[in-house]
């Protein structure tokens, strides 16, 4: 139940900078997700908090106490590793009891504590089993249990669900969230899966090449991405991007994308922030309306390339200017390869990014 503060943290491995001048504050009792592609530095960040790596520069505070020189075994931080790192030679009970045994807890108290945690994770019946005989989900619970029995100050989780099958992952996602609420503990959760981060995190951070891109609640990251990277990271399918350049005509400002133009006069103020006339237009698939006939508000005509039916909805891959954009088709919409359809971009949901800096200008 503590606050985690990172200040100007830097870490290099053999000349390669993995964490670059990172400052971050994680509140108590918060479910905080760190989202980033593999290699973005998520694991290193967690290991720095845990004390398994030593930072080159910067400070780590747990509960407002500087812990730079506190050894990992004394930081009172629990970590669930991607490969779980259960002790394969011990039973479930022994695995869960291990951290307490190291702390020399009396036997009866230890037994009660393990029983209690096992019950809350509904793995009581597995306590005498060997680790090798457990399923993936059961192992996952044991790993969480081993972290829980200690009642640590902070939980760190490094892609803990990545080895589970899709269905189980959904289930565990809900369960972890419930667990965190019940415990009221600080959870820091690293994942490359934006759905996991968005659905679980109270707040989340996006990390790219060791640098924080944006830290906020998931809705803000989704609706107001700070730059093109964050915009492209969140959402499934990802946001569509098209390059274009600004042009003045009859006192109006138009963004010329090639086969069509969009009136962006009303963003006049924001456009002053752009470093040049070259912009990138962003629009999410769910904000594109696909119609068979061209209407008065249609943005342009496109050709259907790929149809991906997902049951309840359908994703269309549409050819525009030599590139492809993705859009959700309305229910009951029928389309096949080669069809000509019209699309309408929701004018209130378009994003503009500076091509040079990739920063959002809206």
């Amino acid at each position: 139940m503590v606050k985690v503060t990172l200040q100007n943290l830097s870490k290099t491995f053999g000349g390669k900078t993995v964490i670059r001048d990172l400052t971050l504050e994680i509140n108590e009792q918060e479910f905080f997700c760190i989202l980033g592609y593999p290699g973005a530095g998520k694991t290193t960040l967690l290991r720095l908090i845990a004390g398994l790596e030593k930072q080159d520069k910067g400070d780590v505070y747990l509960d407002n106490k500087l812990v730079n020189n506190v050894h990992a075994s004394h930081r009172d931080v629990a970590m669930i590793f991607q490969n779980l790192a259960l002790y394969p030679n011990r039973t479930v009970f022994e695995n869960m009891a291990f951290p307490l045994k190291v702390r020399k807890m009396p036997r009866t108290e230890l037994r009660n504590r393990v029983q209690e945690v096992a019950k809350s994770l509904s793995i009581e019946h597995l306590l005498d089993r060997a680790i090798a005989n457990l399923s993936g989900g059961e192992k996952q619970r044991v790993a969480i249990g081993r972290a829980l029995v200690r009642r640590p100050q902070v939980f760190l989780m490094d892609e803990p669900l990545s080895n589970l099958d899709a269905l189980l992952r959904l289930e565990m996602r809900v369960e972890l969230k419930r667990l965190q609420r019940e415990l009221g503990q600080t959870f820091i959760y690293a994942t490359p899966d934006q759905l996991e981060a968005m659905s679980m995190g109270d707040r989340m951070a996006t990390l790219s090449e060791g640098q924080l891109q944006q830290v906020d609640v998931p809705e803000v990251l989704y609706n107001k991405p700070k730059n093109q990277f964050v915009a492209g990271l969140l959402g499934s399918p990802a946001m569509n991007f098209m390059e274009g350049s600004c042009r003045q005509s009859d006192g109006r400002t138009l963004l010329d994308v090639g086969s069509f133009q969009i009136d962006i006069t009303r963003f006049h103020k924001a456009l002053e922030r752009a470093t040049g006339p070259e912009l990138i237009l962003g629009i999410r698939p769910e904000h594109i309306k696909v119609t068979r006939q061209r209407g008065p508000n249609s943005t342009c005509e496109v050709v259907v390339y790929v149809v991906e039916p997902l049951g309840g909805e359908m994703i269309l891959h549409l050819g525009v200017d030599g590139g492809l954009i993705k859009a959700f088709a309305p229910p009951g919409f029928e389309a096949k390869y080669g069809d000509h359809v019209s699309v309408e971009f929701d004018p209130n949901r378009i994003y503009l990014f500076d091509k040079k800096t990739e920063e959002a200008i809206l």
Binding site: L52, A72, S73, M79, N89, F98, V102, R146
Partner: protein, 297 residues
Amino acid sequence: MNRRTRGILVSLMRYVAVIFSALVAIFPIYWMFSTSIKLPNEWVATPSVWFPSRPVLINYQFIFSQAYEYTIGRRPEEATAFYSFAWSSMKPVFDSLILSTFGTLIALFAGTLSAYVLSRYGQKGAPPPVFPLMYRMFPPVAIIVPVVIMYAVLKLIDTYLGIIILYATLTVPLVLWLMKSFFDEIPREIDEAAILDGCSLFGAFYKGVLPLAKAGLAVTGLFIFILDWSDFMGVLLLGGRNVVTIPLKLAEYTSGHGELYGPMAAMGMVAVIPPLILGILIQKYLVRGFTFGAIKG
């Protein structure tokens, strides 16, 4: 030929092959055993005596008595009366046991610790260091001369301590290489999980990783024990009077009194026992150990 008869034939041939190779493997041991219970005139008789005409124990009685002259020509009854058991005759067995046990334990202790450090704190992906194996690249005779000189100065010649040190130093590099490959296969996260669970660095090794390397430790221990147990050169040059091991005693049976094949075989049978017991004790680890890590193949 139908399918069934062919199947029977194939499995028959398979059995024949297996039995044949088993015989080839067992035959030397059988020969040693049968020689150990043969009378002197049957040891090297032509044509060979495949089965002792009259099994006797005098060879065993000889090696465990104080007798120095083998009573060739005496009738077995007389011989039995001639030899009486003497504790001093057990000295080679005890010496071998003491030297091999302590040599192995020290090598395991030092080698395992350094292997762990090299596996965990060495440069990632770096090949294991070659220099500890340098000893092994010379013929033993080449390094034994400087060792003899050093030992002479240190007054370690013909002492238990001296030979235990020799065994330990010669085998530490092997322990290091073998154990490093076992440790390398245990994920680092096990150590890290143990550290986060509250263990010290040594605790992570001792409570987290070492139990997982038990099989490797057992196999390495057996391997080193057998190496020490069968050493001849070291004890020949550095021991002799005060320290006499089984291989050295065996050599005695070739000199002076002629070739005493019977007592040699009897001593050989005795020498088989400790490694055999050790092998049986760690049997459950053997298969796992041999199919894992460096001893594989």
